[in-house]
Amino acid sequence: MNHLAVLPVAIPALAGALLLICGGSRPLLERVLGIATTVLGAAAAAALAADSLSGAYRVYALGDWMAPFGIVLVADRLSALLVLLTSVIALAALAYAANGWDRRGRHFHALFQFQLMGINGAFLTGDLFNLFVFFEVLLIASYCLLLHGLGQQRLKAAVHYVAVNLTGSGVFLIAVSLLYGVTGTLNMAHLAERIAQTPEADIALVRAACLMLLGVFAVKAALFPLYFWLPATYASASPPVAALFAIMTKVGVYSILRVSTLMFGGDSGAAASLTSPWLLPLALLTLALGVIGALGAKRLGELVAHLTVASVGTLLATLAAGGSAGLAGALYYLVHSTLIIAALFLLSDLIARQRGSAADSLVAAGPPRQPVLLGIAFLLAAATVAGAPPSAGFLGKVMILQGIADHPAAAWIWGTVLASSLAALVACSRAGSVLLWKFTAEPAREITAVRGSEWLPLCSLMAASLLLVGFAGPLHRHAEATAAQLLAPSQYVQAVVGNSTERAPQPLGRELPR
């Protein structure tokens, strides 16, 4: 029995529990334990990713109950890739937090582990209701992490974030249970099979459920008009948390991707081509509004948050346009944007800390202590996030633009993507020139230099981004293979539930009240 698939969930869960027990009293132990388990989790993630290279589906039946009855974890190329990506981001965020951010509130490390557990679980689960549960795990952990360090700004952002997501969770439940009510199953592969066989009379119900589900995912992914909670939330989170949150919108994107390829894919069935008509315009609008927001941002954190929105817009537009090549590009772009946004959140903290009370506001402040290093870091990160060549952002955009070239709306996508690239470039150059070039003659004050241990996580993320450039060829081939796997949902269904008819839903008997 190979337990690889459950490890990315089980390790952080157990570690989180342990950390809760020893929480508060032994901060160093907490830190060491937190980092050690994250490394362990990353190793498991790497093993899983390596395992996924074969292209096989690793199906893990929890409690040894076969699908669709029990909950299964399904690790395919995409899940494994995202779990690995999560680990990378997590390691960087945690290493950064270990410089002191983790002690600005209690139970940081426990919450961090639970956050990882939720994210990994969401990526791995093959059960729609279990996906809800993991969403809740990652959300509640994110609420707490968002509040880490407290303060009025964070509280306000948290009220919005929590309220929106609680409402979203309600909708999620309605959608999932409605699907169950009509199809009688919860396993995503089984649902895919059942949805394809929906009788004519039930099509509207299934479609309504699927659309509501997509609506919920759109909230998490941050799609217009449901993303308004994001900028304030991300901008007010503490930097390591914001860096970790870079993966969170991707959970929404992943969910859309997963259900739309698996459950709503193909041309037949009740949920055929469910996403395309409305997702594309909304995604393009999201992209545009994201860069407009970045252009008008008054703080660096806000700017990065808006760029997060823009990256989601790019991704979803590509997904909506469909096609294997575009999808492959989108996957590459997803990895890139996650890495660089995480890096930018860390960097914005480093910059803010050298600017006294001005922090990351885009106004002149006293000169920083390490302008050159910060400048180089910002230059690289900004160029990457804006998609300037030869960054991973550029390569990703090339892949995307080429990938969707045959789509009827290609002109729209191209225009929006390119124009938003320019806007992002302008926004970043404006921010950089104000933050790192425009100084007031502020009297000398105590600024501590950025320590090596604070550079390390940032540099690792940037190095990862550079590796994306250097190994663009093999990575793109992997992305293509992943896209191909995603676009062959029948294999997924076959791997998870087989084609046995004895697993079909049956009536349970209905007895009227006496």
Binding site: F129, H160, V162, G170, L173, S177, G509, L512
Partner: protein, 116 residues
Amino acid sequence: MEFLFASALGVVTACGVYLLLRGRTFSVVLGLSLLSYAVNLFIFSMGRVTAGAPPVVAEGVAAYTDPLPQALVLTAIVIGFGMTAFFLGLAVRAHGESGSDHVDGSEPAGPPEDPR
């Protein structure tokens, strides 16, 4: 029965949504509570509603109601409880920090906007 069930769900949902959209954290909590009742009942109803057939396996009983939605509701209830508790804590702290229980963290300024 089905009509009563459906209409009650609709009404509770509507009341919940209306309260959810008010401008005070406590009203939002009330709205979320009502919504979660509605949602839980909705999940429950997806297994259809049957009286007198609890899913406790016993000899000689053939008809049971669908146990799965019930299990889902239980999960939803517990999660909802946790979330409500958290949101209440958040509301208290936000009010404690800012002195306002408005959902946007401060009393609406200027001309008397709708402070609900």
